[in-house]
């Protein structure tokens, strides 16, 4: 157990994902590092990542596919995929994250950003879903992301798990009438329901990586977690206020660069801040930075009691166990009112 009781995870770049998928020994080292969770592809939604004209430089791997594969190979970590509804539709994204959550036994989540750094930007003002050529497209911004987050949360609850009864005698698999359309109308129009039932942890974790107080305010009421880059300590208070973080709003997790000799002292300082619910350490983007972080920096933090290390003491909370919500000390998702149109008629039990 850590001395502070707050979760400390890791944020991985696209190049890190590429390396982990190609190198099982490296994935095994990450799995054994005692970290409760990882964010897959943080640079994919980071507007500060240096861009060439067609998007960010360097290598990447699509984050939901990478997270699903790595969740199978690194079963002691929870996995959040970083993505944006830019060239991805909320229905497709909700489906992929819920699928990953089922397959990982409730260890999955989503980190939303405004744009995909590695994708061509698209027509200004119509960049969101405009590239699919189906609708006009919407502007990328906090309101669009908030609308997507609202729809995604509703989709995750559109098929209640308890409606699946698999009653062999009555020959009824599920009570279709308990499944609801979401009939979401906003930037996106989405009828629902989702193609999978609610997941083992109720809903996947929904995080929002915000770079401005405007985004922090938009995350209020829709995100479980607000991820705030730690480089701007003077603005932390404003972000906390905007999101109502820690009270009615999301829990605040600081994203902290994972290099430098003073990392342990900085990390201890952040963890001592009562506004901060957790920290995400972000090594530099290159593959070598991840190798060095695992070999050098992380063991030092574990010795200092700042991270849990590979083998937790008997009887203590094990970072390698439990759903992602449990690892992040998040409550079950707030139930959404089941007032939508039933998706299907009630089943008629077989007469036997």
């Amino acid at each position: 157990m850590t001395s502070h009781g707050k979760p400390v995870g890791i944020a991985l770049s696209g190049a890190h994902l590429a390396a982990l998928l190609a190198d099982r020994a490296l994935t095994a080292r990450l799995n054994a590092a005692g970290l409760p969770f990882a964010v897959a592809g943080i640079d994919r939604i980071d507007p500060a990542v240096p861009r060439s004209r067609d998007g960010a430089a360097g290598r990447t791997v699509e984050s939901t596919v990478a997270a699903a594969a790595l969740a199978a190979r690194a079963p002691d970590l929870g996995w959040l995929a970083a993505a944006a509804v830019h060239r991805d539709h909320p229905y497709n994204l909700a489906r992929r994250i819920a699928s990953a959550d089922h397959l990982s036994g409730g260890r999955s989540g989503l980190v939303l950003g405004l744009r995909m750094s590695f994708a061509p930007p698209g027509r200004a003002g119509r960049e969101v879903w405009g590239g699919a050529g189906l609708t006009e497209g919407a502007p990328a911004g906090p309101e669009t992301t908030r609308d997507a987050a609202t729809a995604i949360r509703a989709l995750w609850q559109s098929w209640p798990a308890e409606s699946v009864v698999a009653d062999r005698e009555a020959r009824v698999y599920a009570h279709g009438d308990q499944i609801r359309h979401i009939d979401h109308r906003g930037v996106f129009d989405i009828d629902g329901p989702l193609t999978v039932p609610a997941t083992p942890q109720g809903s996947p974790v929904l995080a929002w990586r915000a770079g401005t107080t405007g985004e922090a305010a938009a995350a209020r009421g829709v995100a479980d977690i607000l991820i705030w880059p730690a480089g701007q300590p003077d603005r932390l208070g404003a972000a906390v206020a905007a999101a109502a973080a820690g009270t009615a709003g999301p829990r605040l997790f600081l994203e902290v660069p994972a290099g430098g000799g003073d990392l342990a002292a900085r990390l201890a300082g952040y963890l001592a801040d009562e506004r901060v619910a957790g920290v995400i350490l972000r090594p530099a983007g290159a593959e070598q930075a991840l190798r060095e972080f695992l070999a050098i920096d992380l063991p030092g933090l574990t010795v200092s009691g700042l991270t849990a290390g590979g083998s937790a003491a008997p009887g203590s909370a094990d970072p390698g166990r439990g759903t992602l919500r449990e690892r992040l000390s998040l409550p079950a998702p707030e139930p959404l009112p089941a007032t939508g149109r039933p998706a299907f008629p009630p089943p008629v039990p077989a007469l036997t």
Partner: protein
């Protein structure tokens, strides 16, 4: 048997979640309420497929929910994510994911599919579909599906753009695309996989679909009811390939076959009957409605099919269902002129849309050998009635019979899906 062929058959398995019949969830005591979304279930499927040295697992898909009240197969994990998780638990079997050209952005899908290919060490395939189920449209802010002609035109542009983007990942050169559906300038930064990029599979049996297959696809998941029809379509697609300057061996023809196997023919039929009777009574009528794009419950069960219904089903401009399935169903009905009730009963054993096979593993091995040596197929996409035990019978009984006849591999000799396909023609190309 006709003249011998070099190489061996290709065997894929179309999972259809728990199996192609809606009562599959009731059949096998090992199945639970969670099986459709359970990693353990899918790992078992992957392990049995690799025990049988099968070429590929295939997942059908559509981004919308059907009624799961009586049918657990309505619960559908997203295929690229499901196969990414299974890639981590398997070594050799190909993993073919269905994804729609109608409800995706080509850049995002190209990146995601290449990522699956990378994560699986070059075992990914993309089954290109345009999506024909109307319930998906409402999930994407559309009042209805785009018209069939538009969907296929879009599919062709989409596919070319995805191929160009995959190329950009290898060359580092930007794609500059200005088409009638998409405008895009950029490149992918996903590392290339050991097979270069995913294998392209085309599903569907329209004339436009067969042309698309001949010019671009490396595999065709087709719907055939008769061997004669299969031979005709086999030659047609191979002809399109040759006309496009490709080797006909570059496109593999893999019709679906609905399978009920038993240790005797009688046992297989009993199994099929029980599975049909366990399923919802309305299922076959619903299936017929969906396939022909009509309300089949309005038909008189003891009359033959009205001629206007059959004529409408053959009209390519008619929007309901899949034209390939419609042609195959009408062809079958015109052969024997059954009543609606007779048709629904006879299709239990012989299939409909896809052809069916009900019998012993030995009889099925004969069937595979006959169609293969007749030049009707390069292999089959097998659709067991219930996957849990059906796949075990394929791996442990059918595959050994085919091996003894020199029709299937004894061990995996190739590591990528494209390598598996090439090895079936006796070639050894591991990469493009």
């Amino acid at each position: 048997m006709p003249a011998s062929r070099q190489g061996h058959v290709i065997l894929g398995v179309n999972a259809l979640v728990l199996g192609y019949l809606p009562a599959a969830w009731l059949w096998d005591p090992r199945l639970t309420a969670r099986s459709p979304v359970d990693a353990g279930y899918w790992r078992h499927v992957g392990a049995v497929a690799e025990r049988g040295t099968l070429d590929a697992l295939f997942l059908a898909d559509g981004p919308g929910l059907g009624d799961p009240s009586y049918d657990a197969n309505a619960a559908r994990l997203e295929p690229t994510v499901n196969w990414a998780a299974l890639a981590a638990a398997t070594e050799r079997v190909g993993l073919i994911a269905t994804a729609s050209t109608t409800f995706n952005d080509p850049f995002e899908l190209a990146e995601r599919l290449l990522s699956l290919d990378y994560a699986s060490g070059g075992r990914a395939g993309w089954n290109i579909v345009t999506t024909r189920h109307g319930q998906a449209a409402g999930n994407f802010g559309l009042a209805g599906l785009p018209e069939r002609g538009d969907r296929y035109e879009r599919a062709a542009e989409f596919t070319d753009l995805v191929l160009a983007l995959w190329e950009s990942a290898a060359t580092g050169r930007e794609v500059d695309h200005r088409g009638s559906h998409f405008t895009l300038r950029g490149r992918l930064r996903v590392p290339p996989s050991p097979q270069g990029h995913p294998v392209l599979i085309q599903a569907g049996g329209s004339a436009a679909g067969r042309r698309l297959a001949g010019t671009r696809a490396e595999g065709v998941f087709s719907a055939e009811l008769t061997k004669a029809g299969a031979i005709e379509h086999y030659r047609e697609v191979k002809g399109y390939a040759a006309a496009a300057g490709r080797s006909p061996a570059e496109v593999k023809i893999l019709p679906g076959v609905l399978l009920s196997l038993g240790s005797t023919e009688e046992e297989a039929r009993r199994r099929s009957d029980q599975l049909h009777e366990l399923g919802p009574a309305a299922y076959s009528v619903q299936w017929l409605s969906g396939s022909l794009g009509i309300d089949a419950s309005a038909l008189s069960l003891d009359e033959p099919f009205p001629e206007d219904v059959l004529r409408q089903a053959l009209d390519p401009a008619f929007a309901g269902g899949s034209i390939g399935f419609r042609q195959s169903i009408v062809g079958q009905i015109r052969q024997t002129r059954p009543t609606v009730r007779e048709y629904l009963r006879q299709t239990r054993y012989t299939g409909s849309g896809h052809h069916g096979f009900t019998g012993t593993p030995e009889q099925f091995a004969d069937h595979v050998e006959d169609w293969y040596r007749s030049g009707a197929i390069d292999g089959f996409n097998l659709q067991p009635d219930v996957l849990a035990d059906g796949l075990e019978v394929i791996a442990d009984e059918v595959v050994p019979l085919l091996r003894r006849r020199g029709l299937f591999r004894h061990e995996y000799e190739t590591t990528t899906l494209r390598g598996h396909f090439a090895a079936a023609s006796g070639r050894k190309a591991e990469t493009v």
